[in-house]
Amino acid sequence: MANLDTLSARQVAAGIAAGDFSATEVARAALDAISARDGQTQAFLQVSEELALSAAAATDAARAAGQALAPLAGVPVAFKDNMNLLGTRTTCASRMLEPYESAYTATCVQRMLDAGVTPLGKLNMDEFAFGSTTDSSAFHPTNNPWDVARVPGGSSGGSAAAVAAGEVTIALGSDTGGSIRQPASLCGVVGMKPTYGAVSRYGVVAFGSSLDQVGPMGRRVEDVALAMNALTAGGHDRFDSTSQNCDQDYLAHLDDSIEGRRVGVIPALLQAEGLTPEVRAAMRQAADGLAAAGAVIVEVDLPNMANSIAAYYVLAPCEAFSNLARFDGVRYGYQEPGCATLAEQSSLSRAHGFGAEAKRRQMLGAYLLSSGIYERYYLAAQKVRTLITADYQRAFGQVDVILMPASPTVAWEHGAISDPAALYLADVFTISNNIAGNCGISVPVCLGADSGLPIGAQLQGPAFADAQLLTFARALERSCGMEGSVAPAFAGKGGELR
């Protein structure tokens, strides 16, 4: 029989519809793979066995009753642990929310459930999504399936690792400054940050409200496109006033030719400090692959992109400080016992509930929003945001998408970079996309010539051109031949459909 490692989401759903295997058999095979593999990856914070088996039973009952099955019927999916799902805790990998029981289900999660998926549980992350390693999880680190001594990237590191190790077919992540695309690159999977507003943020614990976006991760571009269909089905979500109607069939033009279409490259960017030779070589390979598929490679410039790090590390901490003020130990979250006053209870609950990086980001935000400092930094950063957005508008007047790395390096060893400010610099290729609200995707290109570890190429597209972005991503995937790979150390361990 087949193993889940080798089946696409479409094949899983089709196999269930055809009666080759049942949704319950798929759920048991996924649980079996998680049990065989997660001890090594530590991608999961909770495995929702009961929810998975009851969803699968409902799928099997629908089929038995002769009902048409939903497009992702029975497909094993898991969610970053900043997304609420009734029947699970939503911890944001923080002591602050360790016992927090979801009070309702996030729209993005509900739409995946409506598309028929089998929910396998909640995935590890950097605490409150502050980080790019997943090492700041209060509970445990997650290991990169390609080399378990290395980080999976972050903050959606659990999502990337679970997909790369074949524990689930699709995972949802969230991306505020690269938190889907960077771990996707480091773990050798496809990770998409849709246009800001394309996916509802209702029920997703907020970090930077003008930057956050939920998106899918999978081992194939087609799986990610199917998830986009599910996430946007129904259009605007009345619970998120910023959500837009992006309901369309993202598969319709997936395999279109890119003959004569234009791909931008930024030569100066490939000279960026810290960019390794093997990542530079992978970008050349990606450009050559797209050119071989008929694309025209055009040089473009984003002159203010280098300063997007400075703009981001003003905007994101300020938004985070504002959003995380709600964790005061009163309505939910850790509550310090034995305090005489409310102020003492808030200060000690926050001191003991939050980890080091969550405190650092909020302190920075509190400072930058203070009187006199606000005008100097925050207002200036919002103006630089205008310049960065204008750079993109000029570039997208010349090209359909822009090709660049998602990360300057392959995955590094746990603890290898300890200076928090130094880690921020690694976000240079991803954060300008969030600042402008555009769409972006990382697609695995090759294994590094020196390291043997996966390298992703990032494609960025204009806002609301998500379907076109997927067409280019599919062309890149075809030219690189990395489609569907489970990390070799994990392939075939559990996950057999009996």
């Binding site: 280098a306 590390y313 309505r331 939910y332 405190k359 920075l364 103006k383 205008t386 310049l387 402008a436």
Partner: protein, 101 residues
């Protein structure tokens, strides 16, 4: 314009994050490193540039019809609270003297 330890202690008080002495030293070093990273922002001449507060430029308020719908039930809303009293979230005294006039 480096931030002093006293500056950082003041910010921590405002941010309601109690820091130990050792944390205050580390936080002061971090804050100065992080703020230095932001310097490129200050080098722009931005007088004629409009700020962008939101990536969707022409955002307008979205309002729904004013129809009463059920909210989160009381027991579920209180379920994650650290302490409660009856139908309410329970908190310690808001004023330092316990509220005595």
């Amino acid at each position: 314009m480096a931030l002093t330890r006293e500056d950082v202690a003041g910010i921590a008080d405002y941010a309601r994050i109690a820091l130990t002495d050792a944390e205050l030293d580390e936080m002061t070093a971090y804050m100065n490193d992080a703020v230095e990273l932001l310097d490129p922002i200050l080098e722009y001449d931005l007088d004629d540039v409009e700020p962008t507060f939101h990536p969707i430029g022409e955002l307008v308020n979205v309002v729904r019809d004013d129809i009463v719908a059920p909210g989160l039930p009381l027991e579920e809303a209180l379920a994650n609270a650290g302490s409660r009293q009856g139908r309410y979230f329970r908190v310690p005294a808001i004023l330092a003297d316990g509220g005595a006039a």
